[in-house]
Point group: C2
Chain length 111, copies 2
């Protein structure tokens, strides 16, 4: 059940364009809250809320350095999300391969 | 913006354990609503709602065959989700490689 809750939080956090943009930006390197807020044109309060959701999902870590809160990506949970999708995709691709083989066989029969 | 909305819907749909289980089940092959409902021990109405959310996210397609609604997986949108995560991961891994090289260099200096 723990694994379930982790994935719930991960996917919920990713279900917002601003939060995905924040992750992309942090993929280039650490940034402060105000540095992150600039390109989005949203308030610091609004941005902090998004960062908090990403932090709860462990997709981001933050650290107070002097008067500035520095944000970094924390990739562990995204690996779980990718793993879940990949297992699902493999199932699906196997089924697709089966379907392809079936259609090829059908085509052969018709010749 | 369209791409954004698609990913919003995909990740929202994945942010629920029952919906992820439904996708895993459909990965093994098509199933009717009542076949899907059985292992979860939830009502048909509850299950239909989950299927509807998955259908809106295009992760599932349904078709009425006689009196039964058959559900199948529709993988297109999951590919977008994986692509998004993969781009982000590549950025991150590149940064990690850089960090590793830096730490190796530091270690070399200390010898």
């Amino acid at each position: 059940m723990v694994q379930y809750q982790v994935l719930d939080r991960t996917f919920s956090a990713l279900a917002d364009p601003t939060r995905r943009e924040i992750l992309s930006r942090l993929g280039e390197g650490p940034a402060s809250i105000s540095e992150l807020a600039k390109p989005f044109g949203i308030s610091l309060t609004g941005l902090k809320k998004h960062v908090q959701i990403l932090e709860e999902a462990k997709l981001v870590t933050t650290e107070k350095i002097g008067r500035v809160r520095e944000c970094r990506i924390g990739p562990e949970q995204l690996t779980d999300a990718v793993q879940w999708i990949e297992v699902y995709r493999r199932h699906w691709e196997r089924r697709l391969d089966g379907l392809e083989a079936y259609l090829e066989a059908k085509k052969g029969e018709q010749k």
